[in-house]
């Protein structure tokens, strides 16, 4: 496969877009449907990445790739799912303030453990030794294949989100997000529904974290900061928290525009790339979050189709 036409920065930028898109789609289920304000997305993503990395590098497996990858990724998904179950149990019946504290606290715990358990994680020095679970030729070819696999995973998540929107389960989530006391009064188990949602979506975030570990090859505690949560949240809010395609469009317009177009194709001074561009990116993402929520709270795509239909039927 001749990939001379493909820039290495473009592969990396597209991978970032796919990764954040996957996280934003999962956040859409939590925040857009269930109204669970998960400010600790990076915690679940990070635990997946670190569990995968530690198991892959530190354990002497009796078999090699691709089984090694599959077993480690499954364990990472399970770890994130168990964490989601625990945190979900803690926060599912709390108000937004408690959810904020629980999810932010969890993200902080993951970062503290990644920093302090340096025998396992490498701590502040970081941890290398990760590789692709295959070798099809050059680095660029391996990266391109991993990008394609990640994109396929994101498409599966998108299909799942699409299915949730059209299923009775999705309607229950929307009802809970709209008015939890009302859903409870109708005999629905709101706690268990939110717990199930949080566990499954957290596990999927952990799996994406493991996939990110494979691509970057090197785990660094600097990568499990609040920027990951911000990127997913700003993409989702810009596109529209209530719509399936909101996360997709929003992430393309934010991460895609900045990480690919601005960083790779605009003729900016080289010295800007070390500090000015990353700082500007975060500042603009923060500003976008503010402006969208103040002036267009439903994002570019607006509210759900069913809400529009109801307004049409009832003439409101």
């Amino acid at each position: 496969m001749d990939l001379k036409w493909l820039d290495a920065f473009l592969i990396s930028g597209l991978f970032d877009v796919a990764m954040v898109m996957g996280l934003a789609l999962l956040l859409h289920l939590q925040l857009g449907l269930g109204r669970i304000a998960n400010f600790g997305v990076v915690g679940f993503w990070g635990i997946g990445m670190y569990v995968y990395g530690v198991l892959y590098v530190q354990v002497d497996w009796p078999f090699g790739d691709p089984w090694q990858f599959l077993v480690c990724a499954a364990a990472a998904t399970l770890a994130a799912g168990v964490a989601g179950l625990l945190i979900g149990w803690l926060i599912s019946d709390l108000d937004t303030d408690g959810v904020l504290m629980g999810t932010l606290g969890f993200a902080a715990v993951v970062q503290i453990l990644a920093t302090t358990q340096d025998d396992l994680t490498g701590g502040a020095r970081g941890m290398g030794g990760l590789s692709f679970p295959y070798d099809i030729g050059t680095v660029k070819q391996n990266e391109f294949l991993w990008l394609a696999i990640t994109a396929a995973v994101v498409v599966v998540i998108l299909l799942y989100v699409w299915w949730v929107h059209r299923s009775p389960y999705g309607r229950l989530l929307i009802a809970i997000g709209g008015s939890e006391p009302l859903a409870r009064s109708l005999g629905k188990s709101t706690f268990l529904t939110k717990l199930g949602l949080f566990t499954v979506t957290s596990a999927a975030m952990g799996f994406l974290g493991a996939m990110n570990g494979v691509f970057v090859h090197f785990l660094d505690i600097g990568t499990i900061g609040v920027a990951v949560t911000l990127a997913a949240m700003v993409g989702l809010v810009l596109g529209g928290t209530a719509r399936v395609w909101g996360a997709v469009i929003g992430v393309i317009l934010t991460v895609g525009l900045f990480d690919i177009v601005v960083q790779s194709y605009l003729p900016l001074p080289r010295e800007w790339y070390t500090q000015a561009i990353p700082v500007l990116r975060e500042a603009l993402f923060g500003l976008a979050l503010i402006l969208v929520l103040v002036f267009r709270p439903l994002g570019i795509l607006g509210d759900m189709r069913r809400d529009r239909l109801m307004r049409k039927i009832h003439g409101r």
Binding site: R35, A37, F39, L90, I91, D93, L94, D95, T96, D97, G98, L100, M101, G102, L104, G105, A108, V109, I112, L113, T115, T116, V226, L230, M233, V234, V237, Q275, V279, L280, E282, A283, F285, G286, L287, A288, L289, I290, L293, V294, F295, P297
Partner: protein
């Protein structure tokens, strides 16, 4: 016994700004219903304002406290008038207000680096004297910080609980319509709340900054502890925030001594606070009324 006295002295002197910041945050939360994530940047900017006045005009640390508090208070009021008040007029929900404050926090944290530069900054102050208290060496800055925080916390508590303006603030918090009928001007009182909270946060930032260094993440690193103290202690009013804040400061120092690692102490506290919140349940209303 030595462990207890060390924990008490180190906890109270090193973490005194935590109590002041938590009071400011809780005041805003209890009286306006808003979880303001950008409060962490009020703390950070307080540290930067203090450092800027100190290094630009050559004023000593104690002289910069009043202008620093005023600047931080003004910034806090500006965010209310420019952002949270219009957002309320646009009928933005409680959850969205928290996300807006999260966005504002990120914007200010990164935007300030274009103004103050990327590297860590330091106050230009003479080396502090070391004073022995119960066998533990404490710098004069930390001791003055503790005294200042104790005085400011007491004044804030008395202001809210005992003055006419404090009564108006509490009345507005409990029933806005009734307060309005009683002749209380909501805009003036709410602006006052934001100013006081900003002053408390800014001064806490200055005390944090002079004790170590000033960096963009200064406030964010403290935010989770402040949030936890305000949420758990806030159920019992400002007095509860002070008690939980002091207990947290001492526990943090004690565990840091025990584990020889401050991060483990933070980890235990985070878990403990989340479990407390779970057991107690969230009783406060979700309706934000900035």
């Amino acid at each position: 016994m030595e462990f207890v006295t060390q924990s008490l002295v180190i906890g109270l002197t090193e973490n005194a700004p935590l109590v002041l910041a938590a009071i400011g945050f809780a005041l805003l939360y209890r009286l306006t219903g808003l979880i303001n994530v950008a409060y962490s940047e009020t703390i950070t900017l307080g540290a930067y304002f203090g450092m800027w006045i100190n290094t630009t005009y050559g004023l000593d640390f104690y002289a910069i406290l009043i202008p620093t508090g005023i600047l931080a208070g003004a910034l806090s009021v500006a965010t209310y008038l420019a952002l949270f008040r219009p957002a309320r007029h646009h009928n933005v929900g409680a959850l969205e207000l928290i996300i807006i404050s999260f966005g504002l926090s990120i914007f200010l944290r990164h935007g300030l680096q274009f103004v103050f530069g990327y590297p860590e900054r330091f106050y230009d102050v003479p080396s502090p004297d070391t004073i022995m208290i119960l066998g533990v060496g404490v710098t004069s800055f930390r001791l003055i910080a503790l005294l200042s925080v104790a005085i400011l916390s007491g004044l804030l508590y008395l202001f809210i609980q005992r003055t006419t303006l404090g009564l108006q603030i509490r009345a507005l918090a409990s029933d806005e319509d009734l307060a309005r009928v009683s002749g209380i001007r909501p805009l003036a009182v709410t602006t006052l709340i934001w100013f006081i909270a900003g002053v408390a946060g800014g001064l806490a930032g200055a005390f944090y900054g002079v004790g170590a260094s000033v960096s963009p993440l200064l406030g964010w690193r403290q935010f989770l502890l402040i949030l936890m103290v305000a949420l758990v202690g806030g159920s019992w009013g400002l007095g509860g925030v002070i008690v939980v804040g002091v207990a947290t400061s001492v526990a943090l120092a004690g565990m840091a001594l025990q584990f020889d690692q401050v991060l483990y102490a933070q980890l235990v506290l985070i878990v403990a606070f989340v479990v407390i919140l779970k057991v107690r349940g969230s009783k406060l209303t979700e309706t934000a009324k900035v």
